[in-house]
Symmetry: C2
DNA sequence: AAAATATGTCAACATGGCTGACATAAATTT
DNA sequence: AAATTTATGTCAGCCATGTTGACATATTTT
């Protein structure tokens, strides 16, 4: 255990700043706004995932199962390799979740027609129902949030969210999320 | 193992729709936009956390340590109970992370002056440096993203993000993230 | 003096990541 | 035709971070 270092000055009511304190950078107004934005992103994302979490808990699934159901529902016939690309996890991690989702009848595998090494993934009807249950509250939450902002709010929001992506990832993400009919 | 259910129609190139398929709801244009927004949130949040993740890995810390360092840095002198409220984890989970962060000299505890049961938390100078390292890339990413949107973009983005919060949580989150001088 | 509060700790367990090694079938290349 | 590459699966073990339950200590409040 290292010797305790000097404390930072306290900013909380009731806290007691001592004599020897590290001088924190005085935050500029812009810095303050940016930190608030960072924290807002943290808390909003947490609430955004809370509705599905509740449903998942009922049926003994976790977020990992949710992601699989969602991206298979959204990309019927997706290959295991493509799903791994989207989720960015190892095949061993995916295998475990995939097995459970298949065993419980939410998902089926179908040998690829052209390339018979592939195991293309599809939701069953039960899977489609589950996906709808999971996505409905999120869709509603996002719908209300976008509506609550003024005109042009949705566009601005999407621009900012898109710009938060790694520059190198933007084309990939666009390909993944946009489905042209 | 249940019998496999019927598959959904495929939408992916190369996929082979079979005879017996579940009829997915035909997504309206609004639904499509909302789903894209949901997925954008997922991918943006992932990239948003990727820079700190890299730094954390170097020093053998995880996201849990990051959260502790961040919210103690942002709320010097915060009590353990308040930190638990923010993080919404059990005290046993926090204890483990807290111990590691303290042992490695990034954080110190100080008995509360008024209430000597409290253990108020402060970053050491090393902790403040670490926090700055972690927050700098996120701040920069958010700064660029907000700047990339048109005028009023920041306001619209914040409105939407704020509306994504559970209604009941909004006053609490506002209290947590806004620090008036 | 008793009760409530703030914090800490021990033990056991679950989820969902990871690495490494190896196996199989099918497609591609030589 | 044989060799190689690719798509997928599997076994085994490890790690980070969450959980519940029970109990301990110091301090404050009633």
């Amino acid at each position: 255990m290292q010797p305790p270092g000097k404390r930072l000055e306290s900013a909380e009511k009731g806290a007691s700043p001592l004599a020897s304190v590290a001088r924190p950078r005085v935050p500029t107004s812009e810095e303050e706004r940016l930190i608030e934005a960072i924290e807002l992103l943290f808390f909003s994302y947490r609430d955004f995932t809370s509705d599905p979490d509740t449903i998942l808990e009922e049926i003994g699934f976790g977020r990992a199962h949710h992601r699989v159901v969602h991206f298979v529902g959204r990309n019927p016939g997706i290959t295991v390799a493509s799903l791994l690309d989207i989720l960015r996890i190892t095949k061993q991690s995916l295998a475990r979740v995939l097995r459970e989702v298949i065993e419980r009848g939410y998902l089926v595998q179908q040998t690829g027609e052209k390339d018979r090494r592939q195991r293309r993934l599809y939701l069953t009807e039960a899977g489609a129902e589950l996906w709808e249950r999971l996505v409905a509250p999120q869709r509603e939450r996002v719908r209300e949030a976008l509506a609550a902002s003024g005109p042009g709010g949705e566009t601005a929001w999407r621009e900012v969210m898109f710009s938060l992506l790694d520059e190198a990832q933007r084309p990939d993400v666009e390909k993944i999320i946009i489905k042209e009919p």
